[in-house]
Symmetry: C2
């Protein structure tokens, strides 16, 4: 199957991935399919369980497109070990569909680490990529997104790896979000060039000498400020920052509740927050980067479209993941990444 927008898009979904699988995965994916009907959908997982969900939810789905997988990877499985212990998992089989040219994309809300490993070993890496990256959007004060890469595909990165995170994510932002020259910031403890340590200094040098639109060092407060379109860092810190950001809404709720519980006067002062439209508005103003809206995160640098969702994915989140995969195919993302990486290799 060629990476060409002329070929009909084929998306495989891990029916067994996520805390509410197979229900949410199957229902969400079929909802996406019914909405556009311009792509083919494979449901990968335990055939009997998938069929039960289809039946119980009165859905219509051609059973030829159910691909049986006898094993399931759960949240407690050690990512790399699944390659040995679960060769017939829905993840392994889904990634293989892409490798074998039977699908363009594989999406899963299952164990993130296992999905990274299965995607890399199943689909292979694009030539020139040593470490693929997970890129995540965070909301910013400018009513847009600040993307963060890597958010946990790899920890303990070398300068070349972080440079690749920047390169891959810049192509992604350009092709999918239409940002012509994404401003790339390097996460650091100060904006001055001298800040940081060997890893950041060497990474800055690579970014400086590239064609990327590198704006220099940025700090923790630049994520929400929207100073850069993309901030790159090692996956250890990116993952911690992402989880910290995700926990903000429930902290806010608790902080207001704790304040209210201190006195009757406090309770009165915050009572407008309980007014349902206001409560909903507050939630909505923070929901831009929610799992429901974003769907999932692309694993960039593997030889095919791989999208990884939150374990707690709703049917809406799953639906949006599938539609995101469709968009990446229609915009020819993998081809564009290959093209740019081979250009990069020539320049060296």
């Amino acid at each position: 199957m060629t990476n060409n927008t002329n070929s009909k898009c084929v998306i495989a979904i891990d029916a067994m991935g996520g805390d509410f699988a197979p229900l949410n995965a199957v229902v969400g994916a079929i909802e996406a399919f019914n909405e556009t009907k311009d792509f083919d959908l494979f449901l990968v997982g335990k055939k009997d369980e998938i069929e039960e969900v289809i039946k119980n939810n009165n859905l219509v789905f051609n059973s030829d497109f159910i691909v049986h997988a006898s094993q399931v990877i759960d949240m407690h499985d050690h990512p790399t070990e699944t390659m040995k212990t679960k060769p017939n998992s829905s993840m392994a089989i889904g990634a293989k569909l892409v490798k074998d040219g039977k699908a363009h994309a594989f999406v899963s809300a299952g164990n993130t680490g296992a999905m990274v490993v299965n995607s890399i070993f199943g689909m292979g890496r694009i030539k020139g990529v040593s470490r693929p990256t997970l890129t995540a959007p965070l909301p910013n004060a400018k009513d847009g997104f600040t993307f963060l890469a890597d958010v946990g595909a790899f920890v303990d990165s070398k300068p070349q790896h972080i440079f690749e995170f920047a390169l891959l994510s810049s192509i992604f932002l350009r092709e999918i979000y239409g940002i012509k020259e994404p401003r790339v910031g390097l996460m650091n403890v100060g904006s001055e060039d001298s800040k940081g340590y060997k890893l950041t200094l060497d990474t800055a040098e690579l970014l400086q000498n590239s064609n990327l639109n590198f704006i220099g060092n940025v700090e923790g407060n630049d994520i929400f400020k929207g100073t850069a379109d993309l901030i790159v860092c090692d996956g250890f810190i990116g993952n911690i920052l992402l989880k910290f950001a995700e926990s903000m809404p429930s902290f806010l709720k608790a902080a207001i509740k704790n304040y209210a519980n201190k006195s009757i006067l406090n309770k009165l002062k915050v009572s407008p927050f309980k007014f349902p439209p206001t409560k909903a508005a507050f939630k909505e103003s923070l929901s831009k980067a929610d799992a429901d809206n974003v769907g999932g995160l692309p694993l960039l640098g593997v030889n095919g479209i791989s999208i990884i969702g939150h374990g707690s994915s709703s049917t809406l989140a799953i639906k949006n993941m599938v539609l995101a995969a469709r968009e990446m195919h229609n915009k020819n993302l993998i081809f564009k990444i290959k093209e740019e990486l081979s250009r990069y290799a020539e320049q060296k």
Copy 2:
């Protein structure tokens, strides 16, 4: 001067430190002094500028307690270079007052890196400490604090350094916040023991084999959850997390404003936020860990009390920094740290 609660507390303040120095530093410190009058206060900096602030604000202060320093370190000075280029800075002279036994504490809202360097070289490290640490409180959902160490005294830490951050901060939490056995978490990308990389695995082993109340790996979302009293990590990530957290309130404000600007209906929905008591309540429920309330962060592990404040410190923040230094002296913090570290050395 002995580290003994019986000796009258003497605190030196960097009158030239902070964006609004010498005004805020001088006024805030004298306010703290006037409130308790049970400690001696040295104002360190340019004598004429300090005297002008005192005069212009109709304050009364014994000029014998003004210690002249001819040089000023600014925010653009490279921390370690100040040791050579500015030996007569207010920071160098303030730290020397502690070293020479003329003061117990030195506090500054100036250049953080320079204050770390001047404190370490001026006061020296406590025996057994290879790297001192800056410990910061972040608010949590349980209406308490989750402390984070290190938040930027040092980057590129080794396992032993992070272990020392845990040890020093645990003593601090016990002695100053009365938490008998602070729960210590290690910042990581997952809670399972196998998560992370060599640095986190080796650090976990040191923590596991210590007398500290180590609860294992924690993740980014555990800061706000309040899973641990103290979370330890390298200063690179701690600094980025702290700045990210500090930028949250202004992001929230912008997010609500952006939402309101989308339609008249949205504007109506969020209008209760503009009701002044509600607005104030919202701000107050998030202000627990504000610079104004916290004052400054202790640099733990140096041979004396060193407190570093935010560059934008208000007079209230300065006042609270001075009062925090007074409390650390009265609770005999430095003596307790020395005692525990020598016990630790014996056990080895």
